[in-house]
Amino acid sequence: MTNELKELMTEATGREAPYVPDVDGLLRAGRRDVRTRRILTAIATAAAVVVIAGATTVAVDARERSSAPPAAPATTQMARQAKLVVPPGGSTGLCTKSNGDTVSAWSWPVVVDVRDTFGMSVVRRSPADPEIVAFCTTEWGNGAGESVVPGGSVQGVVLRKSAAEGRGVTGPASVTTVFGVVQGTPKVTVQTDDGHVGVATVKAGFYAYRRVELSPWPGPIPGAVVKFRYPGQGEYVAARR
């Protein structure tokens, strides 16, 4: 029967006119199909590259976050490289010039200093060159293991930030130090980012101010508004950053 089937099917198809394909049409359609597929492949490849690059960026970012404290804003990166030294008294501390460069100044004479339970902020003057001034901050022995100090001065204001841990503090806390130069002996007030306004210590042409804030460090870039008030005159904003 298989031969019969073969004959039947052959005759059935033989009744139809032979199929003559439109070769030119096939070639055109095939070329168009190939072009389309190439374009789609290129788009898919580009999309895959974008996705992989994005995923890699996210993964690297997550890895960096997991191995380091929360990322500080970019402006702190230069200061982050500053190496902490141990000043007399067993605490960790750092002295820098107004441009953020570190300087070994723990033995220099003190011009003005303020302190609290978490450390102190000191302006020191070089005995060799009185024009050179160092701004030093310390964290006491059980303070944070790492201090991050924003870099150089802005509008004459040197800002320093250090962590405040231990000593009864249960939540995130940090210390904002504000240094600056002043003519005469006006009343200098400093408003920190938490809205608190305090009075700075003024001496020998410099002022220094420390404020313990309930915010973590590393954390947001600190800011301050410094106002001067000379005797018999109104208060005005001397600097802001």
Partner: protein, 176 residues
């Protein structure tokens, strides 16, 4: 595709398109649809042509694509359409006319149309294209055992089909 490969593709199309179309026609029972399926398969082959040339087996691949394309087309329309259409074999055969024998043989299309697509494909590939069981299995993407069983069932149905019974084909015993 370079011009040489394209020339070979054209040569292949010129010589094999009709055979592929006949296979498709037996599978779907519709000339227009068979031509569409063949054309679609040939366009697919154009895309694959350089690879097919390197790998070999162009003819087998072409048949496979045609069968798949045709069966896919039937599957898409199976819910609304009967293979071959209602008026496909509407003409009545006249027993007094010797040409009726020929007309009756055309009834094979009706018999094929009543088979399930897979069984019809097995019959066409095995007995029209004269593929072996393994080759048929390769084309259909199934195991040889499946081809054997499907072919057996198809032939059993064809043997008792009235159109073929008139041709005295049913008494030939085992068909495979």
């Amino acid at each position: 595709m370079n011009s040489e490969a394209e020339s070979e593709y054209v040569d292949f199309v010129t010589h094999h398109a009709n055979a592929l179309c006949r296979t498709a026609y037996l599978l779907c029972g519709d000339r227009r649809r068979a031509e569409d399926a063949t054309q679609e398969a040939l366009i697919r082959m154009y895309r694959m042509w350089p690879r097919l040339q390197r790998r070999g087996g162009v003819g087998a691949y072409a048949r496979k694509v045609v069968v798949c394309t045709t069966l896919d087309g039937l599957r898409r329309r199976s819910s609304t359409e009967v293979v071959g259409g209602d008026g496909y074999f509407a003409a009545e055969a006249d027993p007094a006319d010797p040409l009726d024998v020929l007309e009756s043989r055309i009834m094979i299309m009706q018999a094929l149309a009543e088979l399930p697509a897979r069984q019809r494909a097995c019959v066409v590939l095995r007995y029209f294209d004269e593929l072996s069981v393994d080759e048929t299995a390769e084309v259909l993407g199934c195991r040889p055992g499946t081809v054997k069983s499907q072919t057996m069932r198809a032939l059993d149905k064809l043997r008792v089909h009235p159109a073929l019974a008139d041709l005295n084909l049913a008494g030939t015993g085992r068909l495979i």
